[in-house]
């Protein structure tokens, strides 16, 4: 009775919220308050798949849902921003019967790392993907070991675990289990012998603390590793992508031809992960690969426009060094002349003035590769200090912490403007409005 009431009230709030454009988690919060065992009472006709990890959760979750739908299955999935317990509850209450039955073939959930134990101690979990574990938004996540410990509490609830063979940190979650599924990527033309990034969370072996060696890196500490001291190494993955072509987006998974529409190292890996998950859930490899090839990456965090006759591209990034590193890598593949405009505010959620995370971003890679850098947002001067430390000279740096003067200040710069802005979910600061 209490449960049905929670569903009805939650749906009413959800219905009302659609008109006033309010939160995607409030209905779930209300339901969880009315019935503390709300999640536990859910019954699933199909399988539950969860995606967690530091980077790529949303894309990979959408990819998994896309592959399954393309293959004719009914799928319920949550959206970015509703990946905490209340968000999951919101998604489920929208689709369940009053008795709590969810009738879809699959439920695909993106869940914040820290919330995986809470959610999956209550609802059954068939396939659990952990994409990767890297340094993340520090205020929320501390460091990768803390997150590893959190996720490990959820692992016993998962029937099957899908892990990244090229990540020495998250792969430890499979310790003591025998049927783990792994995915990985062979060396590509963009793999490097040394780590190009400052965020490298596995310089030492996470098992024995000896110095870790790498045959190559894909990005940050993700790559082919081995520890000379204890022998810990990248296993032969069950799903291996290879023959990666960054021009065409073509590659292979276990020798079968595959394709992505957004050819970055990160996305090839996400696609391999999603295919591994779908196959673990029962799909044939050929069918999973074919469906993955038609997936379009969401452009919610990307926009193209004009600023005073110049082409400008907005790329929103989280306050997370790895995602900014990814965007920098992308900008580096684009032609000159170009200006990189960075936009950084106080810490999202807490308003702390900390910018330590900027020192974990390899801005050094941009030195000599861009014509101008612009430092903007409320932490513009802190950005400038960071960039000077990276090696930029002040003559090619524009510092403007007043948004109303930003467009004028940018006129001194040249070429395509790449706006790399740190935000929580979207363009909350209206950077597009400022520049347009």
């Amino acid at each position: 009775m209490r449960f049905a009431l929670a569903v009805i009230l939650g749906r009413l709030v959800r219905f009302a919220g659609k008109f006033i454009g309010r939160s995607t988690t409030l209905p779930g919060r209300i339901a969880l308050r009315l019935d503390h065992a709300f999640l536990k009472k859910m019954k699933f006709d199909g399988k539950v798949i969860a995606v967690t990890g530091s980077n790529g959760k949303t894309t990979t979750q959408n990819l998994v849902a896309h592959i399954l739908r393309e293959n004719g299955y009914t799928v319920i999935n949550n959206t970015e921003g509703s990946n905490l317990a209340a968000g999951v509850a919101t998604t489920l209450l929208e689709h369940c019967t009053l008795g709590g039955r969810v009738r879809s073939d699959f439920v695909v959930l993106e869940v914040d790392e820290r919330f995986t134990p809470i959610v999956f101690s209550q609802i059954p979990l068939d396939v659990f993907l952990v994409n990767n574990l890297l340094r993340d938004q520090v205020v929320r996540n501390g460091n990768p070991d803390i997150i590893l410990a959190k996720i490990s509490e959820a692992v016993p609830h998962a029937r099957r675990l899908v892990l990244n063979a090229d990540d020495p940190i998250s792969q430890q979650l499979g310790d003591g289990r025998s049927d783990n599924v792994t995915f990985g990527m062979a060396r590509t033309s963009r793999s490097t012998d040394t780590c190009l990034h400052l965020t490298h969370d596995a310089k030492v072996c996470p098992r024995c603390f000896g110095k870790m060696e790498y045959d190559f890196f894909h990005y940050n500490h993700i790559g082919s590793f081995h520890c000379p001291t204890c022998g810990y190494h990248t296993p032969t993955p069950d799903y291996l992508s290879d023959q990666v072509d960054f021009e065409t987006g073509d590659f292979t998974i276990n020798g079968l031809p595959a394709h992505v529409n957004y050819p970055t190292p990160f996305h090839f890996m996400n696609t391999t992960a999603a295919v591994a998950v779908c196959c673990t859930a029962g799909l044939p490899l050929e069918k999973a690969i074919a469906a993955a090839g038609t997936f379009e990456v969401s452009r919610e965090r990307y926009d193209e426009f004009n600023v005073d006759g110049r082409k400008a591209i907005l790329m929103l990034t989280k306050q997370n060094p790895v995602s900014l590193d990814q965007n920098i890598a992308y900008v580096l593949t684009k032609e000159n002349p170009k200006t990189v405009a960075l936009y950084v505010n106080n810490v999202i959620y807490t308003d702390d003035k900390d910018i330590s995370w900027l020192y974990d971003v390899a801005f050094e890679r941009l030195v000599g590769q861009v014509d101008w850098v612009v430092c903007s947002g409320s932490r513009a001067y802190d950005l400038a200090v960071r960039l000077e430390l990276a090696g930029f000279d002040r003559d090619h740096m524009i510092i403007e912490d007043d948004n109303s003067k930003l467009r004028e200040a940018m006129k001194r710069s040249e070429g395509t403007i790449w706006v790399l802005a740190a935000s929580a979910f979207g363009d909350e600061d209206g950077i597009l409005e400022v520049l347009r």
Binding site: V138, D145, G210, S356, Y381, D382, L389
Partner: protein, 238 residues
């Protein structure tokens, strides 16, 4: 060319939140004074000989990594204690401070430091963060800004504080008025990441103690402006 010898201890093992920039900041500022810096990195398992170094840095690390460092570090307790007592300049940030104190909790048990300071370490496993505004004891006319992000804190006595805290946490979980350690030329603080980059006064003091030179003329104007803007956001906190 004058030379500066810097030892960055456990640079691979204890490496979080841009801590490495404290070494970079010293190098850059020293270069302005005409010094060339040679940085030696010593890792777990390698011998530590603090003699001959002008500046020794140890940064914050993951809790399990710090636990792995402790037994190794203790093997060199006498030489390290002698270096501190003789006035070698140290900067130790975050939980690496535990290596210089008494016992401290780890995720899997307990470890001990070299016992130079009477404090102990408590591990909570919970992420604790916050802005810190403070005045350094060597010059109470200036304010510093820092950020704390940790799962552990100090307990027990800390008789030689480095900062008088105006806002934010001290060495414990609750504000207790002081933070950090300044003993001879040993600087210790929970303020993590680029603490020397963000605080020109602290950088000048550290570099002055390393070189004996007058550091007031260093051009740290961009850092000063950035700090001024940050501190302004806290109002006239005194």
């Amino acid at each position: 060319m004058k030379e500066l010898k810097i030892l960055h201890l456990y640079s691979d093992l204890l490496d979080l939140y841009g801590d490495y920039t404290n070494v970079t900041a010293v190098r850059r500022a020293a270069a302005q004074l005409g010094y060339e810096s040679a940085v030696t990195e010593v890792q777990l398992g390698e011998p530590i000989d603090p003699a001959g170094y002008d500046f020794i840095y140890i940064g914050h690390g993951k809790a399990r990594n710090l636990a792995a460092a402790a037994p190794h570090f203790r093997q060199y307790a006498d030489a390290i204690t002698a270096a501190v007592e003789n006035g070698t300049v140290f900067l130790v940030t975050g939980n690496a401070r535990f290596l210089f104190g008494g016992s401290f909790q780890t995720p899997d048990g307990e470890e001990t430091g070299i016992g130079l300071f009477p404090y102990h370490g408590t591990e909570t496993g919970k992420v604790f963060t916050g802005d810190v505004v403070s005045r350094p004891v060597f010059d109470e006319s200036v304010r510093c800004y820092g950020f704390v992000n940790r799962t552990s804190h100090l307990t027990g006595e800390n008789p030689y504080p480095l900062f008088k805290v105006l806002r934010g946490p001290g060495d414990g979980e609750t504000p207790n008025g002081t933070e950090g350690t300044l003993y001879r030329n040993f600087f210790g603080t929970w303020q993590m990441g680029p603490v020397l980059v963000r605080n020109p006064a602290l950088l000048r003091e550290v570099l002055h103690r390393i070189t004996g030179e007058d550091c007031s003329g260093l051009d740290l104007s961009l850092q000063e402006r950035a700090l001024e803007i940050t501190l302004a956001e806290f109002g006239d906190l005194q």
